[in-house]
Symmetry: C2
Subunit: 564 residues, 2 copies
């Protein structure tokens, strides 16, 4: 069922992928034809005099220093993985030296990135990884594990460990085997370098789904999901990745930690939950056993329009507390709702009939009390026909009581259709002087409304003239995440400082509200100081104590997360 | 709803509790009147010539060494917690020197326990705990954290750390405050020393439940649940304790780790899941925020009789995979079913009418194919009337297809009534030369049947003439737990060695099946070697690396779990 809309045919050959933007060379924003209209909107919205072209520098103009890997390193590493799986060319080195955050892409566009990996290895087997870790530990080479390379928190920032001489990217994407499959217990074990669509497609062919669809799905890997505690868009049904994993295999320089394939246990601190979120600091995740599900019989995705934020938040809370089965409850705040409304109009001709239809629609909404502040909630239901029908019926009194209007399945279908599309929009607008970034956190229901407002205020005051909006894409028994997007005209002279200021202000706001610095993006380099401050000295040092046992020479992704 | 059957009035004054058996002095086995019949059954079943009286030694005859706490220690510790909250008397020292495992109780009964704590502190505040940890770190005093004292895995074994001079029990049960209550997000924060019934009763008065009812419920604490990864009898609905916690506060000798109250996050390894299962080795758990639920509108607990193990296992697996909401699916294997059947008959007079009724009942069962191998599954449903009815209807075709017979709600009610009763039976039979112990593990569905058999065989061959039985009390998407009970005539001369042999054999069997050494009892001292062998050297050393940061002097519960 799912595979129809997933691009299981993506060619992940490295040279086919964009080194400074999202996606593959042959993929693009679904509404590319409407880019002039979009730019026009942005110009009006941000009161810009003119749209400014800000083309990215070409790959050959990136200031790439000489690789610090010696001929002897190259020989040794090449003999481990095979010569063809060791890369030192310009494309591979630059491609592996940054993630996909606004800050990463900005620096690539403007030739401001300062640090680059000195080479890339593509192992295929655990035994090769063991040898690589051994060689690099002995020879003072930093290793940055690399899956899909989609980190948006500086998880791939090239930081050389103290006293180390070179940095090697360890790309796991040749490790793609289905290791074992258990249709009785509904689990499957994969090598961790497999990309989302390949994993999902493989399961779909057998009648199963993982149900894990993060926004980065097309360009992220199983190992990356686990390393960064990824959340899929249907997490209400399938859980965050840390709930999906049944066991993991981690290869550290000191040896292997492999957890038991057991549904639950009482055997000390949970190593699955130590490996999940370890962001490459403790070892290379090489295998993951995941819980799988039969492909649901049917699905129903639909929109609801609420008068304002509070009533829609209450709806989501009550739906969770009533334990109604949903796959997704995705609330767009008033600003995001307006943006999607606009995008929905794009490319449609303003015939008199259409204008009339819009007028009537708006009049009805106003009459129902659904004006400027209105918020859309997208509800996703997957399951048997009976389950879906029952969830729908159970939700109905909740949304009616909240004064919401049923807005039909078209909205849901259009969301499904465009679910992986948004990152491609950034590829375009960054070429025209526009910046866009996302920040996310989570908190308990009692604090959601305050934090929502505080986050928006922090963002918009940090970049005067910017527009911030927010959605709530994952909800739980006790709270939900808040996912912010900020759009702004790039500062012409100091775009990096503009970004720093914004990042600092919103992160300080999360911290002041005792909210985590991330719900599913991770910590990496960008969030390190807020993470460490909220966790506290003992927590940080404890994890470093653990790391020092697994990674004695501290070669694994140093300078990030809990490592200073 | 729940509190009617829970003893919220238990007086936990230490001297009111049994130091060498389960429960308080004024509590007893519900069927005490039938003990002669039970002993008679045991005699027949185990082909014993006569029931042998094995009374326990009296407290005053326990060989208790002199406390190694110096007058200066006593003065200092007394000044931290208040003189009245520092105890060195015989009762307190013995009470705190063992848990409630068969091995612990056996040694207390026979005056074979060798190591005792030198004193007990009862702090009430975090600030007192900080001072105690500081004093003991400086003065080489081992600390064994103590909640309800219900460990059955040697979690309270008195082991003095290397180079340390005395052992102090840190009893948390004066720490019982409700710290905060959030009816919006449905969470509550308690001090961790609160006992199950007090916590549950407090919530019930407000209309809420935690829903966490381990077998030890009456005599275990919130902090103990978290430290040992406890599972409640309704875990299908409410989750194991590690899923129930939202945040924790851990006080280590190096300082505090307090996790954020957030529904989910992507901020490195999950400290909640490091603290859960830490069994007192990393710090004292002083506060826990838990997810709470409205008391369900109704419940329906009923029995099903299956022809044999395989069909009942399949039923449980399919109910999980169909995501039918249940609170409990509790399968007793054929042996356990027969025992419960017998216990159910106790105290009922054999009138001619009753004999006829039994004959007819047995004939019907046989005609349905439900003979000697039959297994009972107790199904627990909690929720709204609609939910309960729907779950019942959804389960029906599954049990019918499996050839099971609906056995009515009486069975369910009698289980609810006796849910906390079984540990009291041991108090009696150990006075008559009978041993009883429990072991538990978990595995994936594909391996359940094999492991079930292998576990039974290991137990019964380890003690010739014993009877082993098993139930499956917690089930999941990918597997379930197996909980064994073994009954045996105590070896007259070497009862400890008899127990060692049994423990070794069944634990080796779990390990050979790559099953964890515990599903919810924990590791403690008794399971240490199997735990460490299955986790492996790197995993064990990694956790010790973490411990060494938090507990530099290694004063916290040394020699257990991952600590050697």
């Amino acid at each position: 069922m799912f595979y129809h809309e997933l691009n299981s045919k993506i060619d992940y050959t490295r040279s086919n992928l964009r080194w400074n933007a999202w996606g593959a060379n042959d993929q693009d924003f679904g509404r590319k034809a409407q880019m002039p209209e979009i730019l026009d909107l942005l110009k009006r919205e941000f009161q810009m005099e003119a749209i400014r072209e800000t083309p990215a520098v070409e790959l050959e103009n990136i200031d790439l220093p000489k690789s610090k890997l010696s001929p002897s390193d190259l020989k040794s590493l090449g003999s481990i993985v095979g010569k063809n799986n060791l890369k030192v060319d310009r494309f591979e080195r630059v491609f592996h030296s940054a993630g996909k955050s606004y800050y990463d892409v900005l620096r690539l566009h403007t030739n401001k990135l300062k640090s680059f990996v000195d080479g890339v290895v593509y192992p295929q087997k655990d035994s090769e990884i063991i040898k690589i870790l051994e060689y690099c530990s002995k020879n003072k080479i930093t290793i940055i594990p690399f899956g899909g390379g989609s980190s948006v928190v500086g998880g791939l920032e090239v930081i050389k460990g103290k006293g180390q001489k070179a940095v090697l990217s360890l790309d796991t994407t040749r490790m793609v085997d289905l290791v074992s499959f258990d249709p009785i217990s509904l689990t499957a074990t994969f090598q961790a370098g497999i990309y989302g669509p390949k994993l999902e497609y493989g399961l779909n062919l057998k009648g199963y789904t993982l149900g894990h669809f993060p926004q980065s799905f097309e360009y992220s890997t199983l190992g990356g999901w686990v390393a960064a505690r990824s959340a899929g868009q249907q997490s209400n049904r399938y859980g965050k990745i840390e709930e999906i994993i049944s066991s993991v295999k981690l290869i550290s320089p000191s040896g292997v930690v492999e957890t038991l394939r057991a549904p639950a246990a009482s055997i000390g601190p949970d190593w699955n939950q130590i490996v999940a979120g370890s962001e490459g600091l403790l070892g290379i995740i090489t295998e993951v056993t995941v819980k799988i599900h039969k492909i649901p019989e049917t699905r129903k995705y639909f929109g609801l329009v609420f008068p304002e934020m509070r009533s829609s938040l209450n709806f989501i809370r009550k739906a969770n507390h009533a334990e109604i089965k949903t796959s997704m409850l995705r609330l767009s705040d008033a600003s995001e709702t307006r943006l999607y409304e606009y995008l929905g109009q794009l490319g449609k001709k303003n015939t008199p009939l259409r204008i009339l239809k819009n007028l009537i629609q708006n009049a009805v909404l106003k009459w129902k009390g659904l004006g400027e502040g209105k918020c859309v909630v997208l509800v996703g239901l997957d399951g048997s026909r009976l389950e879906v029908a029952r969830s729908f019926e159970a939700l109905k009194p909740l949304w009616k009581k909240a004064g919401a209007l049923y807005a039909g399945e078209k909205l849901g279908q259009s969301w499904i259709h465009g679910r992986f599309n948004m990152p491609y929009l950034r590829n375009h607008i960054m070429q025209f002087g526009m910046g866009v970034d996302t920040m996310e956190t989570s908190t308990t229901y009692d604090r959601l409304e305050d934090l929502h407002q505080a986050g928006l205020a922090a963002l918009e005051t940090s970049i005067p003239g910017s527009r911030a909006m927010c959605h709530l894409s994952h909800s739980y028994h006790d709270g939900a995440c808040l996912y912010y997007t900020i759009l702004f005209p790039m500062d012409e002279k100091k775009p990096e400082e503009q970004w720093f200021k914004m990042k600092r202000k919103v992160s300080d706001t999360f911290a002041a509200h005792k909210a985590p610095i991330s719900h599913h993006h991770g910590v990496g380099f960008d969030h390190k100081s807020w993470y460490q401050n909220t966790l506290g000295k003992v927590g940080v040092e404890g994890l470093n104590g653990l790391k020092k046992v697994l990674d004695k020479k501290e070669i694994l992704n140093p300078g990030k997360l809990f490592h200073s």
